[in-house]
Symmetry: C2
Subunit: 109 residues, 2 copies
């Protein structure tokens, strides 16, 4: 029926999947990379940087804010966006832990 059956899985599994979902769009990757590159905060010239319409960028920023990867502060008429370092580190650790599960090279099918 189209909806993910989250109740079948552990909290951690849903967490990892949710984090991955936040990264599962090139526009959001581009936004994050841009924010990392610029370091200091940036507002909505993301609209210029990427080729997407303003409501679309706003939507992607909303999702990134929802998972805590990005912060926004109102600066006059503009909004200043930046990476949330705390969540960023959480993401790094979670993915790192997930992939560090040792995968044996040889005894595969």
């Amino acid at each position: 029926m189209g909806a993910t059956k989250t109740d079948l899985f552990t909290r951690q599994q849903n967490d990892i999947a949710g984090m991955a979902k936040a990264l599962a769009h090139p526009a959001r990757i581009a936004i994050l990379q841009y924010l990392v590159k610029i370091n200091t905060c940036i507002c909505g010239d993301l609209v210029e940087e990427l080729g997407l319409a303003q409501p679309t960028i706003s939507q992607h920023l909303k999702e990134l804010k929802a998972v805590g990867l990005v912060q926004g502060t109102v600066e006059g008429t503009a909004v200043c966006y930046c990476i949330n370092p705390k969540t960023w580190k959480q993401y790094r650790e979670l993915f790192s832990k997930f992939f560090d599960s040792s995968v044996s090279e040889g005894n595969c099918c």
Copy 2:
């Protein structure tokens, strides 16, 4: 409308997003964790392990195979699945590289 505008983004950005998309479902996370835990190959008792119907599991396995995270070999009537260590390492490195972009703690908005 409704389709991702992949042509607006770099190859790398689409790659990361594509990899993230493969992980963006708890069932696929659960499958990968199970395969890592069992180490040696496993077939479709994933259906028992997770509570999803056989066609649904098959679908998720297909996606994991499509991105190369999982291999399958026919073993009689069953199919033996396992992690593809090569792709697994590629994923780990890509995500690690992405998140290791240094995010400064202080000068945020």
